[in-house]
Symmetry: C2
Subunit: 198 residues, 2 copies
């Protein structure tokens, strides 16, 4: 059946979101339309405000807002600015922050290399990382990229670009995740756990 045009447009809009199919989009829209129009316009206002006020930190490419020149992490003088952790994307940065066990700063690449998907080195913030590292105060770079092919390739590529005297380059440890079962662990994980035993 033909839906009123503003309604079908709204359903279509929700389906652009990842993991939201036409049925879920319909459900969300019908749910929203049962609320007051204020609920919906408020949703729209929060979106508009985010679009206008959320920016990338000029230092590390984390998210920040228009009222702050740098992101909360880069602006924090109590953190160790000699230690830079390279992550692919912002959710990875937040995951590391949630551990509360990292005191350094970050550099967000904006993705991992994947030439087939059009993600070439110039799409990432690699050159900017290189410029950042000309500051000799930075002494260690930790690669915190996913332990998969794209992550490995990206780390190797970036490493070649930024290597210089006095810069230690490390990667996150690989091994058995907490609560896992050795009997079910894959061979690659197990062999890493063996090699890096401590």
């Amino acid at each position: 059946m033909r839906l009123p045009e503003p309604l079908s447009k709204l359903i279509e809009q929700f389906t652009i979101l990842p993991g939201i199919g036409p049925r879920t989009a319909e459900r969300l829209v019908f749910w929203l339309l049962k609320r007051s129009p204020e609920t919906i316009t408020n949703f729209a206002q929060v979106l508009t405000r985010a679009a206008h006020e959320i920016l990338f930190c000029p230092t590390c490419h984390n998210l920040t807002d228009r009222t702050h020149e740098q992101c909360i992490i880069c602006a924090d003088t109590k953190r160790n600015h000699a230690l830079v952790c390279v992550v692919a994307d912002i959710p990875d940065l937040y995951a590391l922050e949630k551990t509360s066990s990292y005191e350094g700063v970050y550099h967000v690449l904006g993705g991992v290399l994947n030439p087939l998907m059009g993600i070439t080195p110039d799409k990432l913030t690699i050159r900017h990382l290189q410029e950042r590292l000309t500051d000799l105060k930075v002494t260690e770079l930790i690669f915190a990229l996913n332990p998969d092919t794209e992550g490995e390739i990206t780390a190797t590529y970036v490493q070649k670009f930024v290597e210089r005297n006095g810069l230690t380059i490390t990667r996150l440890a690989r091994g058995l995740p907490q609560g896992s079962d050795i009997g079910y662990a894959d061979e690659i994980t197990l062999s890493h756990a063996l090699t890096d035993r401590r």
Copy 2:
């Protein structure tokens, strides 16, 4: 960690949607923020437009837009206006429309009776249905409410309210769904399928 305020507000906004928890909301928001600001403001515009332009049809309480006085179904003179199908909510109406096998019109109650959840008869469009049925041209009322306790109670309650001479009241058939397995069917469904055999 502390997120920039417009960001945490946006994540919070997504979590009000049904079935969207904080993790999914975060994922959706980070995905959106990787698009251009235009994608986000466009999303906001579509929402605002829906809030302003989508209205309830004054006849059947289906959704319609500001440019049409009645919904597409009520305005369709080729449909059988003597046949009114009572549904709890708009998604049920759309589900019935998708079958393309119904030629009558609808009446959307706006929910089912559930006094514990505060859904009392005055919250539904029962009185309006009664007024609609004073038009003697309506000859049949089909209850298409979910075959569960709330649906049954609502149908029985509404039926008492609207009964009059010359009005046939029917309910959707109950029986085995297409593709189901008799061995796995529950007793209530099977006994309905037996009673209503044809």
